[in-house]
Symmetry: C2
Amino acid sequence: MTSTSATSRDLPHPAPEEIRLEGVLHALSDPLRLQIVRELAARGDELSCSDFDVPVTKSTTTHHFRVLRESGVIRQVYRGTAKMNGLRKDDLDDLFPGLLDSLLAAAGRQAVRLGDSA
Amino acid sequence: MTSTSATSRDLPHPAPEEIRLEGVLHALSDPLRLQIVRELAARGDELSCSDFDVPVTKSTTTHHFRVLRESGVIRQVYRGTAKMNGLRKDDLDDLFPGLLDSLLAAAGRQAVRLGDSA
């Protein structure tokens, strides 16, 4: 993930060594945030906040993205007027090898079990 | 995990199909609860609440064990006068294969990185 084209409106992110497992798990303990992470992982690329079809208000969505960013799960970068979101997969894989894949597999398995469409 | 010698004071537990990934992650998003789970995993057997050396009051400890029980992470059974705690490893492994081991590995790796003794 590069910030080459980011503007000066950069948002604060934890450095890799500041990321804590407890914070990552808290970030993923909300169904909507877990869904956002699943979509980012499936896409394998950045998505803008408006690319997500979520059944909550814009301010609630903003809150959820902020929790994901502050825990180190996603990186948010302004590109022009769009706030783009990407999984910090490399950082998470370095810190906790295999964990993100396990979490995504567990989430996918649960979605199938509960009959969720996503 | 058998409840053969449990008394009638059984505590409510979610059935396996009621366990949710989000609830498990929430339960493990607290440092003290994560530590309790690591100790249970390392021991591989039941432990009583008083076997844990935690720097919080008894009522706080009780709260943390209840969160772990209600999320499906541990099973709590009265044996005589002792409330015994055991990881629901089989249930979790059935629902989310590999997840618990990944989480424990991540927690162990972080403990080493941060210089925690446990």
